[in-house]
Every structure is written in structure tokens, then in C-alpha cells.
Amino acid sequence: MDRTRAATLRPSAEEGMLRAAFRELHGAPLHGFALLVTLGDRRLAERLAAEALADGARHARALRHPERAAAWLRARVARNIPRRTPAPPNDADRRSALAPLGVNEVAFQALRRLEPRARTALVTAWIERLDDRDVEQVLHLRPWRRSRLVDRARRQYLDAYLRAAPGPPPLATDPAASGPLASRVRAVTLRTLSPGRGSA
């Protein structure tokens, strides 16, 4: 009797663990994605992420590949973003929702200029660095359309950022510039200009 009972309980327990692991793996980044594409609308982002996560957890067995699962979840969030929200948050709320993710003031201003779909393209392709086919799944686009949308989103973001940003000093004289690209450019420059570069 006990053995039969254990045998009937085991699959559901395993299923529960699988769902919990799925939720643990995808929950936070998916919520972050939803916050970014909704531009810090906490209530909406949480609802969209929770719905997608609940749905994904039910298909956890089929969604075993983490990157494909991430794309599936994001596609669901992107598809369910409403055109209008009844009570959108004010800018201060949006900023405070996005600040913990690392969105600075100028980036917020630039992201704000983008349509939700362009923001989705930028977040998946440039921030999360998803594979091209995953970006296509999220945006529900064919490759050439995906490429065009991502390029347009990048340019719009960069233009908006340059418009909003104060003019920083050149990289060579700015010790505060410590991002990954600034560090890469600086490293190549120093290596090129250092006296012993020919021997390396």
C-alpha cells in the first residue's frame, strides 16, 4: 500500500521540484526584462512576469533548454503588453523601479524615447544578448525584420542618449569611465602606445 502510494506521489513531487527550479532559474531575469520593457511599471511588469512564469512552469518539462525557455517566456510577456494601462505610474516610480537594475538617469531618458517594441528589441539583443533566433521568437519576426528592428532600436537609443547626456571629457582623461567598452578601448590604446608593444 505504502509503496503504491509512494509511486503515485513521486511524479507529482518531481513535477513540483521541476516547477520550483524553473521559477527559481527564470523568475528574476524575466521580471527584470518585464520591468525594462514596461519602463518601470511595477504592477504591470509583475503581473506579466508572474503569468508567463506560471504558464512556463506548467510546461517546464518541454522548456528544458534554458535559453529557449527564456525566449519563450519573454515572447509571452511581450505579446501581452497592453497598448494602454489604466493607471500608469509616474516617472519617479518608474525610475525607482529601474534603478536597482542599473538604469541610470540618462539611460532612463533614452529608453523612454523608445516604443515598447523597440525597447524589447534593444533589451533582448543588446542588454540580455540573446541569440538571434531567440530575439526573433520574442519579437515574432523573421531574421531580416529582426535585424532591421534591432538596428533601428540601437540607433534610436544612442541618439536619445547623446541628446540627453552631458558631454563627458575624452576617455583618456576621464578616470570615471570604467564600463566594459571604456576599459576595452583604454586597454587597446595603452597596449598600442606602450613602448614594448612590438615585442608582445
Binding site: 521580471h31 506548467r58 539611460a107 547626456a165
Partner: protein
């Protein structure tokens, strides 16, 4: 090579994805160019964003908590119930019409046709009961 060309090439490299290391001439130009520094800052501002820093979503979805099959069954049950209710009401009403038993909605003529015999006298409420008035008998004196 002019600064403008270097500048354009660096921006092109940046917008193209900025993968790997920049070419040396472009890196030297970008390190000294205030405009390129802004582009680099824009790029690094995105790189600083990490969606995984968000918390787990806490709210429970109201609709998605039920599997779609359960939702479909619920909708089917509601529709079937509504159809049964309307159908039952219609059948009951039709039965009542056929039997002529519509209570207060019955047509007066139909009710009379169904009754045999004569109506019983009903007491008058507002008027006093009529009393017989004695008529004077003819006498011999009057003739």
C-alpha cells in the same frame, strides 16, 4: 586617415555590435575624442543594466492560475446552464399557455368560457341593502 573617417568607422563598429576589441587606430581615436566618449558611455550604460537584479515576481496571476482546460470547462458549464435555464423557462411558459392556466395574466374571456352555471350573487359593499317599500292597498274610499 582623417579624424572624421576614424570617427565614422568607430561609430559603425559600435553600432554593429562592438564585439571583440576595436582596431588599434579606432581605439586611439576614441580615447581622445569627446564625441566618441559619449557613444562609449551610452554603450556602457546599457552594459551596466542587469535584469537579473530584479526580485522574483510575487503576485499570483489571477487568470493563469487555472489551466486552460479548466477554464474551458468552466465556460462550457456556464453556457450550458444558461441554455438550460432559458429553455426550461420557455417550456414551462408554453405549457402554461396551452393549459390556459396563466393565473393573473389569464384573458377574461377565456376564463368565462371555461366556467359553467350562473354566478352567485355577491354582497354589495358600498350601498345599503334594498328594503321593500310597502305600497298602500287600494281602499273603497279612494274609489
Amino acid at each position: 586617415m582623417t579624424d572624421d573617417t576614424l570617427h565614422d568607422r568607430f561609430i559603425e563598429w559600435l553600432v554593429g555590435g562592438a564585439s571583440g576589441e576595436p582596431p588599434r587606430d579606432l581605439a586611439i581615436h576614441a580615447a581622445l575624442c569627446p564625441q566618441c566618449a559619449r557613444w562609449i558611455a551610452a554603450h556602457d550604460a546599457l552594459a551596466a543594466i542587469n535584469p537579473s537584479r530584479a526580485a522574483l515576481p510575487t503576485s499570483r496571476p489571477a487568470v493563469a492560475a487555472l489551466p486552460s482546460s479548466v477554464r474551458t470547462a468552466g465556460r462550457f458549464a456556464a453556457t450550458a446552464g444558461a441554455v438550460l435555464l432559458v429553455g426550461g423557462t420557455a417550456a414551462f411558459t408554453a405549457g402554461q399557455v396551452i393549459n390556459g392556466n396563466l393565473g393573473p395574466f389569464a384573458h377574461p374571456t377565456g376564463a368565462v368560457l371555461g366556467i359553467t352555471g350562473s354566478p352567485e350573487p355577491s354582497p354589495s359593499v358600498g350601498l345599503p341593502a334594498p328594503t321593500a317599500t310597502p305600497t298602500p292597498a287600494p281602499t273603497a274610499a279612494s274609489t
